[in-house]
C-alpha cells in the first residue's frame, strides 16, 4: 500500500537518472500513434503536407515520446505485477497492492521531432513525498524530470522536456 512507503527511506534515490534509447521513430510509428489518438492532423499522417509546412517528413505528435510508459523492452510478462506494471519501472519498490495513477505531465517543446529521427531520453527522479487525501487516504507522489534528445542532424539536440508525476495509492 502507498501508506507503507516511507519516503525518508528512499531519499537517496532522488537524483537517480535513467537513460533510455527509444530508437528511430518511423513514419509509421508517428502515424499509428496519431491513429491511436484518432487524431487526423495531416502533419502526422501526410509527408507531402508536412514538407509543404517545412518539415522533412511527418511530424511525430509531440506528446508521443513522453507518453511511452515503458521506454525499454520491459520485463517478461511473468514478472509483471498483478496490476500489469513492470516491477522494475520505478526507482523505488512499490508494495504489491499499491495502485498507480498518472498525475499529469508538462511538456516544453524545443522543436518538433520528425519521422526518421532517433530519440533518446534521460529521466530523473526529482521528488518523492506524501499527502493525505480525505477520500483516498495516504498518497505517495513521485516526480520525474525527463529530457528527450534527437539526432536527426549531426548533433544530439534536446527537443523536449517533460515534468511528470505518478501517484501511488492504496486499494480501497
Amino acid at each position: 500500500m502507498s501508506s507503507r512507503i516511507d519516503p525518508d527511506e528512499h531519499q537517496d534515490r532522488i537524483g537517480t537518472v535513467e537513460h533510455h534509447d527509444i530508437g528511430r521513430i518511423r513514419r509509421l510509428d508517428a502515424q499509428r500513434y496519431a491513429r491511436a489518438v484518432e487524431d487526423d492532423n495531416s502533419l502526422f499522417h501526410d509527408p507531402e503536407y508536412a514538407r509543404e509546412q517545412g518539415y522533412n517528413d511527418v511530424v511525430v505528435p509531440p506528446n508521443y515520446p513522453p507518453a511511452i510508459i515503458e521506454r525499454d523492452e520491459g520485463v517478461p510478462a511473468d514478472d509483471l505485477r498483478e496490476d500489469g506494471i513492470d516491477s522494475e519501472f520505478f526507482p523505488i519498490p512499490l508494495p504489491d497492492t499499491a495502485t498507480l495513477m498518472g498525475g499529469g505531465q508538462h511538456l516544453t517543446i524545443d522543436r518538433y521531432v520528425v519521422a526518421g529521427e532517433r530519440v533518446t531520453a534521460e529521466r530523473e527522479l526529482t521528488d518523492l513525498y506524501q499527502r493525505e487525501s480525505e477520500s483516498m487516504g495516504t498518497l505517495t507522489f513521485m516526480s520525474f524530470s525527463s529530457d528527450f534528445f534527437a539526432d536527426g542532424s549531426d548533433e544530439r539536440e534536446r527537443v523536449l522536456h517533460c515534468e511528470e508525476t505518478f501517484i501511488v495509492g492504496d486499494r480501497r
Binding site: 489518438v37 508521443y64 500489469g84 513492470d86 495513477m101 505531465q105 515534468e163 486499494r171
Partner: protein, 134 residues
C-alpha cells in the same frame, strides 16, 4: 491565422468518444501494460474504478489534437501541461476544451487554459502555449 486574429476569451472545443479498441491501441503504442486500461473486471473489483480508464497521457493527446488542429500550419505548440484530476471511461463523451487567456503580440505567443471533461466533471486541466508564425 496570425496573432492579431486571436482574442482573449476565444474558445476551442472538440468532442471525442474513446472506445475500448482505441484504449487498446493507445496502450500498445505507448507500451503501457497497466491492467486498469484493458481489464474491466480487474479495474472494477480490485482497484474500484467504474470501468477501464482512459490513459492519463491520452487526455494530453486529445488536448494536443485540439490545439494543433486550431493552429494548422500557422505556428507551433511550444508548451502543453495537464493534471489528471478525474477519471474518464470508454464509450462515453469526452469533451476537450481550451480558452485563450493571454496574448503576447511581441513574442507572437498565445496561452490557453485547456481541459478534458466528462458528464461527471473535469478529468484533466492545464495550460498550453503556442507560437504563431511571422
Amino acid at each position: 491565422m496570425n496573432v492579431e486574429d486571436v482574442s482573449v476569451g476565444d474558445e476551442l472545443h472538440l468532442e471525442k468518444e474513446p472506445t475500448r479498441a482505441q484504449l487498446f491501441r493507445y496502450s500498445a503504442m505507448t507500451w503501457n501494460p497497466h491492467r486498469i486500461h484493458y481489464d474491466p473486471e480487474y479495474a472494477r473489483e480490485v482497484e474500484g474504478h467504474p470501468d477501464v480508464l482512459v490513459q492519463a497521457q491520452l487526455h494530453g493527446a486529445v488536448i494536443q489534437e485540439l490545439v494543433m488542429d486550431w493552429l494548422g500550419g500557422d505556428g507551433e505548440l511550444v508548451e502543453i501541461g495537464w493534471r489528471n484530476v478525474g477519471r474518464a471511461t470508454p464509450d462515453r463523451t469526452l469533451r476537450v476544451g481550451a480558452e485563450v487567456t493571454t496574448i503576447d503580440q511581441d513574442e507572437r505567443t498565445v496561452d490557453l487554459d485547456v481541459w478534458t471533461e466528462t458528464d461527471d466533471g473535469r478529468a484533466a486541466e492545464g495550460t498550453a502555449t503556442v507560437r504563431l508564425s511571422e
